[in-house]
């Protein structure tokens, strides 16, 4: 009898060479690609941030002219949100979710590959705006009429509208994949009350994404139609309304904060039990809290528009929801700190990043709830107070968990533990730098410094704080750089990780580091919310058949289970490597460049190749559509 592992390897392995490099559908490889590409864009966004901070370090500097400054601050937001934080968190999701639920891959592996390629192409598309010197310059919120063809005639804003439509394809594809994977691909026995908290975070994010991104796509499409074809959705002179843009944008723009933060909360809830040596207190509270945040997130968008002059009754309704959303967010935080308080804390780097994150996130949350109070919001909106707030929530709030994730799951990805000393050094530099860099923005905001100014006048008391902010941001960058170097170095020279370097509770620690192509030799049967803690056989890295494991080694399949109880329902034939996702993404890149340049021939060629790729992708083959 041939060994199970050998047969699985034969079924699941990828061939070396370009074809499988481009065609890979392995969620682990795709997840790492998401992460590495996102880190590249993190460096780009960080350089943009450095330029912004240099320009603002003194009053009346002429380091950047307003034209360049506007492009850089707009691209800083677009890069960090769409090309770093969201894809980095998707990267962890891609790598970790199938492992945590005990599947052999994501539910739709080719869609998964497609999501990555689209992210890469959209990143190239948006960044190429710098090469032609026409990066978007009307802000990531691109309010009309400033962003219409009259006030912004160049292609700058077209890079924005087409770019966000392009990247939305990736986020939507990824979100659908997460939802189906978590709902239907869980190992037998992993009933809904045993889903790991990280997966809940990804699920809440994915559900939000599916409803939020269409609003952005629609808004961007309407703006592009207005810019290029003379439509009048937002043109007051022709019966349109500029406020419509703000509604559509913020119906996306507020939930996107939760789209960013929910997976970060998921990382937090994964790391805390491991390093507190006890299960999360209030599992159900955390799950319900995250789901409530995802839902309520759609009811608070108008608090970005409190000074627009809307009727007081509308403002009050949104003020209520904005106060209410504090409660589920607070519940999640209370569950963390209760777990930490009653745990036995092991102070390793991932935990340090999470503890730092909690402090930063709580500060950002507390300044955030203040905006629910309408008059306070009207006084501070569009000031640096807001810049401080959302950097605490979205920059610190996402980056510290992402860095925790690098230290926590990095060993699972590379098989080697990151250096602990340099990890701690990196954390402390980043934590100090972050607070030195961003806390004073609260103060300058309260002193009256507006956002999005390319310079300011001397003598207003803003100079010294701005200088401190600049220094802080540079300190922060040094800390972040240390981790990137540490990661790169440790991946080659670090200590071997073994299956479970930190003693985690979830399934990814019940297989090798890095995991084999097929993830688990036997798809385990789950009998606890903390399988690796409670099922001793998993600690060995595999659950033999006698203990309930399923080999499924006679075909390229994984198991699909029922939604609530995770009872086995069907074997799903999984597709093999395919070049079509890449071909479709490339064609779409050509298509979008065609739209941008206005050359209909290019649009036609791109569209034709895209259609051909879809036909090739979906062409019936055999019975299982595997190849």
């Amino acid at each position: 009898m041939v060994d199970v592992a050998e047969r699985l390897e034969e079924l699941w392995a990828e061939k070396p060479g370009l074809a499988d490099f481009i065609g890979t559908v392995d969620h682990k490889r795709i997840g790492k690609r998401y992460l590495y590409t996102a880190i590249f864009f993190f460096v780009v966004g960080g350089l943009e941030a450095s330029l912004i901070r240099l320009q603002l370090s003194h009053a009346n500097l002429h380091f950047l002219n307003p034209e360049l400054y506007d492009q850089i601050f707009t691209m800083h937001a677009l890069t960090m949100i769409f090309l770093f934080v969201i894809p980095a968190l998707s990267g962890f999701g891609n790598f970790v979710v199938p492992l945590q639920v005990g599947a052999r891959d994501m539910a739709f592996p080719r869609l998964n590959a497609f999501g990555y390629w689209i992210f890469l192409m959209a990143g190239i598309f948006m960044s190429s705006a710098f090469i032609v010197g026409r990066a978007p310059d009307a802000g990531w919120f691109s309010y009309v009429p400033l962003s219409n063809a009259h006030f912004t005639p160049g292609v700058n804003t077209d890079f924005y509208t087409l770019g966000v439509i392009f990247i939305s394809i990736s986020s939507t594809a990824g979100a659908i994949n997460f939802i189906v994977t978590i709902a239907k691909m869980r190992a037998p026995g992993m009933s809904i009350n045993r889903i790991p908290l990280f997966c809940w975070g990804e699920l809440a994010m994915a559900i939000s994404s599916v409803f939020a991104f269409p609003a952005l796509t629609l808004a961007a499409l309407m703006l592009e139609l207005e810019r290029r074809l003379g439509f009048h959705f937002f043109d007051i002179g022709k019966g349109g309304d500029p406020i419509l843009w703000q509604h559509l944008f913020w119906i996306f723009g507020h939930p996107v904060v939760y789209i960013i933060i929910l997976p970060a909360l998921g990382i937090t809830a994964s790391v805390i039990p491991t390093f507190a040596r006890r299960a999360m207190i209030g599992y159900a509270w955390v799950v319900l809290g995250e789901m409530a945040v995802a839902l309520l997130g759609f009811g608070v968008w108008v608090h970005h528009m409190f000074s627009v002059g809307l009727p007081a009754i509308s403002l009050s309704m949104i003020s209520i929801t904005s106060f209410v959303i504090t409660i589920p967010s607070g519940i999640v935080v209370l569950a963390w700190i209760a777990t930490i308080f009653s745990g036995r804390i092991i102070r390793k780097t991932p935990m340090l990043f999470i503890l730092g994150f909690i402090l930063i996130f709580v500060i950002g949350g507390l300044s955030g709830v203040m905006f629910a109070a309408i008059p306070f919001d009207q006084a501070t909106t569009d000031s640096y107070f807001v810049v401080a707030h959302f950097h605490y929530v979205m920059a610190g709030g996402a980056m510290f968990p992402i860095f925790a994730g690098i230290y926590y799951w990095g060993p699972k990805m590379t098989g080697r533990v990151l250096n602990e000393f340099w990890g701690k050094v990196s954390f402390w530099i980043m934590f100090v730098g972050f607070n030195v860099g961003f806390f004073p923005m609260h103060i300058t905001g309260l002193m009256g410094e507006p956002r999005r100014v390319y310079t300011y006048q001397p003598g207003l008391g803003w100079d010294v704080w701005n200088m401190i902010e600049t220094i802080g941001v540079f300190i922060f960058s040094v800390g972040a750089l240390i981790t990137l170097i540490n990661w790169w170095w440790s991946a080659k020279h670090g200590e071997l990780a073994g299956n479970d370097p930190f003693g985690g509770e979830t399934l990814e620690w019940g297989t090798t580091s890095p995991p084999p192509h097929y993830n688990f030799e036997h798809i385990p049967t789950i009998r606890s919310r903390h399988p690796v803690w409670d099922q001793p056989e998993l600690r060995g890295g595999d659950q033999p058949i006698e203990a309930g494991g399923r080999a499924l080694d006679d075909a390229h399949v994984t198991l699909s289970t029922s939604l609530l109880d995770a009872r086995p329902q069907a074997l799903i034939h999984m597709p093999h490597e395919s070049g079509y996702p890449f071909a479709l993404s490339m064609s779409l890149l050509v298509f979008f460049f065609g739209l941008l340049s206005g050359f209909l021939v290019v649009v036609g060629v791109g569209g034709l190749f895209a259609a051909a790729s879809v036909v090739g992708w979906l062409w019936p083959r055999g019975q299982t559509q595997e190849t």
Binding site: W285, A312, S319, R344, V369, S383
Partner: protein
């Protein structure tokens, strides 16, 4: 904002201090719990199983819902009280100043026909209604010491009120990103005692002070016969364009170019010669004038009290 100088802002600042205190209390709780966990961990032996934490669920419910809920309701109600006071209508007799946003400056018009730019005079001790609209993109009217901000939206007419308790010069700035010179869309609200304000308002409504010196007279001729008059108005002369600021009483202003430069002969001359060097993207083109001509125009403009 913290340095409130008017009743509209006072309520907001009180709300801020209250919320800050509550926020500090919550932050302290989080710090204490984390520190407690870290300190306790030092004394727990690694082999002993951790004690049950059955208090966890009730703790979350009590702190997260039972205590937080009423506090949020309290802050919400308080914020509505401040909002109601700030949103209350001004008395019918109140002065109403019509402020219009332009790329990148502020036009202010008074009921008696007075018109100025970037320096909005108001009387102290009374509510002044500010009616807001825009000719181009969205701007936002914000004087941090005097009140909240209100956006200027195309096709919409918003209004708010401000009140300064004592005489002074209060800096304001556009708060909604409006393009290249968003950073230099500055204005000042100048609060004078009611008597002084009425004098200013009456003077501002009058047509220009006729130039007396020869150089100023020549400046006027140049102003009226070149591109200047195509955009600017000086009441009492044929120049009545509304693209740029009304210059009838320019000499009474301390700054030009929406707070970018000082209103002195040097800055004014630089500004006329090459506005793009001082404020890149400003809609004012360079005047095709010799330096002597510019000096004459400056002499004319600096006499417009």
């Amino acid at each position: 904002m913290i340095d409130a100088r008017g009743p509209a802002e006072h309520g907001i600042v009180s709300l801020w201090w209250l919320m800050l205190v509550l926020a500090c209390a919550v932050f302290l709780l989080v710090c204490v719990m984390i520190a407690g966990g870290l300190i306790r961990s030092r004394h727990l032996s690694p082999d002993e199983p951790l004690p049950e934490a059955s208090w966890g669920g009730p703790f979350i419910a009590i702190v997260g819902v039972a205590i937080t809920g009423p506090i949020l309701v309290f802050v919400f109600v308080l914020s509505l009280r401040v909002l109601r006071a700030d949103a209350a209508s001004t008395p019918k007799s109140a002065l109403s100043v019509h402020v219009t946003g332009h790329d990148w400056w502020w036009q202010a018009r008074y009921p008696n026909g007075a018109q100025t730019a970037n320096e909005i005079h108001i009387p102290t001790g009374q509510r002044v209604r500010i009616v807001l609209d825009t000719v181009d993109v969205i701007h936002s009217f914000w004087v941090p010491q005097l009140g909240p901000k209100t956006d200027l939206i195309p096709g919409k007419r918003n209004s708010m009120w401000i009140e300064a308790a004592s005489p002074g010069r209060y800096r304001g700035q556009c708060a909604e990103f409006c393009g290249f010179q968003h950073a230099h869309m500055i204005f000042y609200v100048i609060a004078d005692r009611p008597g002084a304000f009425r004098t200013w308002e009456r003077n501002e409504a009058r047509p220009l002070m006729q130039p007396t010196s020869a150089i100023a007279k020549r400046g006027e001729q140049i102003f009226l016969s070149t591109t200047c008059a195509q955009c600017h108005a000086i009441r009492g002369t044929p120049a009545d364009a509304t693209v740029g600021p009304d210059l009838t009483h320019l000499a009474g202003r301390r700054t030009i170019a929406a707070g970018t430069l000082q209103n002195d002969p040097g800055d004014l001359s630089d500004w006329i010669r090459d506005p793009q060097a001082e404020k890149q993207g400003a809609l004012m083109p360079s005047a095709p004038l010799s330096q002597t001509d510019i000096d004459a125009v400056v002499a004319f403009l600096e006499g417009l009290h």
